[in-house]
Symmetry: D2
Subunit: 512 residues, 4 copies
């Protein structure tokens, strides 16, 4: 194992594309306590900028209400739940990434729905009424939250129109009509709104150029391009679950980069690229989401995604998610960083570790990222590189060794550094493993939950490392790291200022 000499001078600033957005299922779930406590925890330990959820126009949010009673007939917009939802977002410091979707029954042209919660996926029966709904909603949001705030919320038109489950017949022309009408409506409310699409799922490369041509031809507003990325194969079903093959992790970054390449030379070239959903599996019932493997697999994506796109939004922050009905078990392969009742999964920690990285990048490799803060703290994120289904199994452990520069805020060299390491792998920081060992209790008792919360916390170790000044005048510590299978680890290194008084002698603690 060779030693990687981490440079003393930063090579770049760490992109925060990884934290610009996080996903959630139906917006109406944000009325729930467990959901909001999960969001608060997520914001406290990670801190995302935006939250993108489906169903702002689902009838369970109930924005569009029609009446015909006692001689009074008409449409009424109702903000009872939408305001509660958005209030709750802002209360914990996260902004909506608006996705305009699901069709209110009263406005739908058909009764085709998707998922357990029956989101209507048909085009509007009447485009003018749709436009009125969109504009009333945006105007209300501006009135309630202020223009400065609301203009920071991107507006995405519909979700995955390339799939017949989400858009009747996956009718591209119909989507483009919806997009055009909606984008113009949004800009009419305020020309500074950022509007975009086409929000397609993986496998829709054929949509980008036509979309660009359409907006060019018709001079339709488009401020960003959005799409999704997943890397699993077809679902192999079992009751309440699936298994799936998984491609190599590099395929995620390739998916991120593709639309930008396809759009080169079109009017959409150079626009912000938003991956408005990504994950390993696109299924909310694949146990891979609960594993340390999932975290190790995604580590290079979080580190490198900002090179190719402007945001990439993990789908989703919580297991509160009802597409396939209400989950029957606390761990059930849900997308969440957190389970119901807020047990942290390994991928939660991957994100929390990213949130503890510094601002300046000192080094990046296939198994590590090293950053530094203004106050001299150096942070190392390291992981075991893993492959997909077809790769050979990863070894039981992975090692790397870094030579890490350390300096105090004032530039002076410390004699030693305090090294604080947080570990997540198949055993440590892994409540899923503990839960398996408990016998997989579907609805754990409070005692079991308490044990799971403890098991979910990363293992913490610490030591003092001597700093040695090299020929280049830079003080460095030696940092050999051994990672267990599927491990993701965070190392925080602080230059020590020794305050030990001269008279202290720990050997005398027992008075000898």
């Amino acid at each position: 194992m060779s030693i990687i000499a981490v440079p003393h001078v930063p090579t770049s600033v760490l992109s925060d594309a990884w934290r610009r957005c996080i996903g959630t299922s139906e917006m109406h779930l944000a009325l729930r306590r467990d959901y909001l406590e999960s969001l608060e925890l997520t914001q406290a330990e990670i801190g995302f900028d935006h939250l993108r959820g489906h169903g702002i126009f689902h009838d369970w949010v109930a924005v569009l209400r029609q009446y015909d009673v006692a001689g009074h007939a008409g449409t009424r917009y109702s903000w009872t739940y939408l305001d509660q939802i958005v209030d709750a977002y802002l209360e914990v410091g996260i902004r909506p990434f608006l996705e305009l979707g699901f069709m209110p029954d009263a406005l739908a042209s058909g009764d085709r729905t998707v998922f357990w919660f029956e989101g209507n996926v048909t085009p509007p029966r009447d485009m003018a009424t749709w436009i009125a709904l969109v504009q009333a909603t945006l105007r209300h949001l501006i009135a309630r939250y202020g223009r400065d705030e609301v203009l920071r919320w991107p507006v995405e038109v519909w979700n995955e129109p390339n799939l017949p489950e989400f858009w009747l017949n996956a009718d591209q022309a119909a989507y483009f009509r919806l997009y055009e009408a909606t984008a113009r409506a949004v800009k009419e409310v305020d020309a500074d709104f950022q509007v975009g699409g086409p929000a397609v799922s993986p496998g829709a490369d054929g949509w980008f150029v036509p979309f660009a041509e359409f907006v060019a031809r018709n001079d339709v507003p488009a401020d960003f391009v959005s799409f999704h990325a997943y890397t699993t194969g077809p679902a192999q079903h079992v009751p309440f679950g699936v298994y799936q093959t998984l491609r190599h992790p590099s395929s995620l970054l390739e998916q991120f980069a593709t639309p930008g390449k396809l759009l080169a030379g079109t009017v959409l070239e150079g626009l912000p690229q938003h991956v408005t959903e990504f994950n390993t599996s696109y299924r909310p019932d694949n146990p891979v989401h609960d594993t340390a493997y999932n975290a190790a697999y995604l580590a290079p994506t979080l580190v490198g995604g900002g090179d190719v796109v402007d945001s990439f939004s993990y789908w989703t922050f919580t297991d509160m998610f009802e597409e396939q009905g209400v989950p029957v078990s606390i761990f059930h392969g849900g997308f969440g960083l957190l389970t119901h009742r807020q047990i942290k999964k390994p991928t939660f920690h991957l994100y929390a570790f990213m949130a503890r990285m510094g601002t300046d990048v000192l080094a990046r490799g296939e198994d590590h990222l090293v950053t530094r803060d203004a106050d001299g703290r150096v942070t190392v994120l390291a992981w075991q590189p893993v492959g997909g289904t077809d790769d050979p199994a990863e070894p039981e452990q992975h090692t790397l060794r870094l030579s890490v520069p350390v300096a105090r805020r004032d530039g002076s060299a410390p004699a030693s550094a305090y090294v604080h390491r947080s570990v997540v792998n198949g055993d440590d920081g892994n409540a899923f493993t503990a839960w398996q060992r408990m016998g997989r209790p579907a609805s754990p008792s409070q005692r079991q939950l308490d044990a799971l919360y403890e098991a979910a916390e990363p293992r913490v170790t610490h030591h003092a490392a001597a700093a040695v000044v090299g020929d280049d005048g830079v003080a460095r510590i030696d940092l050999p790291l051994t990672l267990a299978r599927h491990e993701v680890t965070l190392v925080e290194i602080d230059p020590v200022t020794d305050e030990t008084p001269a008279w202290l002698d720990d050997a005398r603690i027992l008075g000898r």
Copy 2:
């Protein structure tokens, strides 16, 4: 106005039938934050024993799950949401009053549903599967919460089977079959469960004797009799609301008493009587619920209900209620003691005032209740007597005058009493009135909410009243009370122990 001399010796102990139960709509709403904050507030300021809600078996709680995948087929019970709901109840010190109802789709014999949330109201397709569901649920609850706890939760079979909206064809024979199978199933789980019915709505006097005869004839377990009481006439619809006539308040107590009278001489004679729902209007969109009138109207019911029944459960503690869809406005005539976002209505205060009454009853009248605590505190609840729709309008004010005995804990007579009064009427403690004056904002801004919270608090006044020892050796204060229209008022009277030092002289505060 004559003076009412309140006796010095208690006449009875105050019944707590009024606080034994409170209602709520669908149990799944207890997953919501606003709901749980509302429940916490209700428990902090009132403190009910039980909470009765619909829909434990509604598919949105998702207890019954069936599967047939990859060669595995069967039934699975899922406690994911039910446990979260019941955990949350117990966390704030309230117990479920179990109402077994709505039929899971997988078990329903038809597709007839009720209300916006589509509760299935058809009998089980297969009684054995129903029994298995009921027993699995009760056994799970005992395993999770302990036998001692769960046996304190009454079990009521279905809701309002006399109405075709709630039970297919209002088929009495079919209900009796369901009741018999269910009651036997419950007792098989534990013979100490308290099970009962028939949970009928008003206007079902014809159900009681047949129900008694049925359980007698078939030796079916029945531990209590349950039914509902409302006093409004037919709904006069407007969009998102109704108006209704209202009978005299005394009709509520009459409804409470009727089943007990009808059942005299049957095997059900003498069983506990539970009014598992009552209110003025049975509609969740009648503005009467938001008024001070509603509180004044119900005051005699809260005071007197314990004379005739064992519990009577106000329907409901919160406006979070979706039978007619999601409410379009913060005030909308909902049943709740609290609106969405927890604005207190006058009837909330009526209950909160009851919760501040003492243990011993000193006096009761058509416009007052006087109690005393062990520590000498005397509490007066007073209200303006109101009639129903057909009565003449109540006068602008109502007066009464009490001569109230005051004594310290040790029996000694104080020279004065501290009199602390809390007032709710059309202006004071009335956010509904404030909201009307604001222009009825459907979804108020935070500033408006803050003003509404302030406006919702009772007006507080206080004075010191001189105590005079009468011929009977009892010290009394004179308490003349003037109540505004529709007022409910609470007066707390504490004997004063004067700690004023000899040297104090308030006339010298400005140094003169």
Copy 3:
């Protein structure tokens, strides 16, 4: 009573000099829970910028430690408590206004102390050690809280050196030496610190010009001028209390203005003027502080103080104050806006009302201030003008009548305004009165405290006022105000946007 026509166009921006600083006794009290909860409440409802307290170098904060043990001798600076104190300040959003004072015993030249807590008031035995202490403290604060933060904390040298109780012999020359050494030491740490003095009590007009001459002559740094203002006469003692005469309220503003006038033509002319303490009485045991009179008396000072000084700091925000020993009773004439256990006094509400005023001043008079916010809300602060001891008693009530312009954010005229009034006087919002009526319990029971908290809240009333468009095209409402004796009242006026649907008819609520 004539009608005051409030102009539609703002005359000025409301100064926030009134909120720039608030006082507190000894800094070590900030280790206490009740203190910190009081501070949090104060910040939530008022929101001051800075907090000035005595005793940063008092031995109870224990910054300076000396040792001579086992052959090791020296000085050690200890931040154990100081860091906890300042952490707690910043946690609730308030910054220290540093007052360098009380002499650590180890550094004192004598044993003269002041007050129950025995603050040493003698000059340093050795100026170099004092300078080292000051500089170590400032350097530590910068290291812990950051330079940007700490440079926003003014540094005042000592407290009331003109009084022999606070500075040995009130020796002016000695103070000037201390000031010079300290100011130079502060600037040596960072030239951008703002340092000032002489922090004199009322009656020290003779100090200002000599101070100016001294700093001019010696080229000593001085960035601001500080002094105190109180308006009471000599103390007439009773046990645990005093009574005092009180000058007219205008004398406060005169005291504020005097040093600036005296310093005209000196090098200190034009420097910021900080009234680092003011109140009616300078005694922590004068019941005037607990009264509504105190609030009415100070209203014109809060409104007008910003005209003449840059900050004026009410002495103090809490009754937690031990100069005369631990208070023996919940109300005891303490300086606090809040009592122990956080009962709000009338003067708390005066400040809370100020915090609800808008940004733009529309009108100011001897009994009122009218402001408007960007969103159209107009706020009126009104009070009964009161005199001092020698004035005739104020009448039972005071009336004024305003014609108030109302307009929506977009400039349009509303048909009506929602008028929300908060009232504090001898009865309303007055726990002191309630406490007197309770018999002045020195240490109230929880029940009594609950009643006091209720009694301490302002009375809230509301109505809708019709807006009439005048000849000038401006919509106005008529606002007649009747104030009770010693009343301070806040009126918030919001233009109404009427959302009442056409079909609503409140006359039908009972179904008629």
Copy 4:
């Protein structure tokens, strides 16, 4: 290493003498926020019954006030702080263990004081005034908190009267006079109070028989015997600290048992024995308190103390303690289970582990305690046995191996058990070690504190252990334990009920 077969049938019920009481320094410290948050944390994770602190009559609590002003002279009792203190105790569910002590200056016969906080240790100048003070205090407490509550608070007379530092000249006769007067005064208030003494420090064996003879001779009330136990030798001073030798841990239990033996045959024989203070070192600045060694050393005392005494009270729960002045560093050898700012020390975890033990004792040995709960959970507390100063160094690790019976609540044998282990030793669960490695920052930054909080949590590991049914029909798991130097470990063993569905196959998670 032999295998210890843990019996299936309990041998005894676990005594809770270890949790009946915990110590704290001066009662006035309970006004502080950090203190109360520390107490809340202690109660949440451990849960003691009583809290014993010095100084109820110290002038900083200020109960006794005398005045002579304006012709009014007298004594006033003031409850301002005492009520806040006791309110705060009860709020977190802990009761006072009253220690009547330090003499108010106004009542003292001399000016001899002890410690930085200057507690007066002289007898009362006038016994009648002392009696009045004691009785007024007890009567006030009964009036405020109720007789039932207050009678559960033992009353101890003075503290360590055998030491001249704490009682003038250590005058035994004078103490007996004080005891007699006080005990009679207490019983006069309520004969059901439990009163006791003599509260002596170690080395006062000569006090017990004379005390028994005195109370017998004079028929003085005595309901319990109290005394202290410490095992360190003389202090070897360094600045702000000491080192001390330490006797073998068994000497603690010997000290606990001695007074009971000495009192055999006296009137005090058989009375409850309360060790109202114990610890390793009696110094608040000995670093031994901060170590894992301290926890391992005390483990046998916690396990066995209940055999010989009725309570033994660790001195103290928090480092907030000012006998030697304000501590200069976050770790400073304080007595506390918690440091300032609530960093948990190893001994905190020892207590928290004890609080997680079950009700029934299955086994006890020199390095382990095994218990079981009604629900089948088996809990093992294990520790490395350590000696005192003179013993040879403990080895790097310690091993033991248990064969642990496991059964479900219903008695059935599980196929496996979930084994959850919490580890505290020199590295794990040891913020003191982390702090040393950081360079011993005296006042850590928030970042350092966050790292210390993480480092302070026990390391958690878990595994599933197969259960094997033995010849005796009892299912057992094999539990080999390796403990690091100075380790204290908790193992919780839950019988598994396997809910794994038939269709799950973790080998398929990657879809293979």
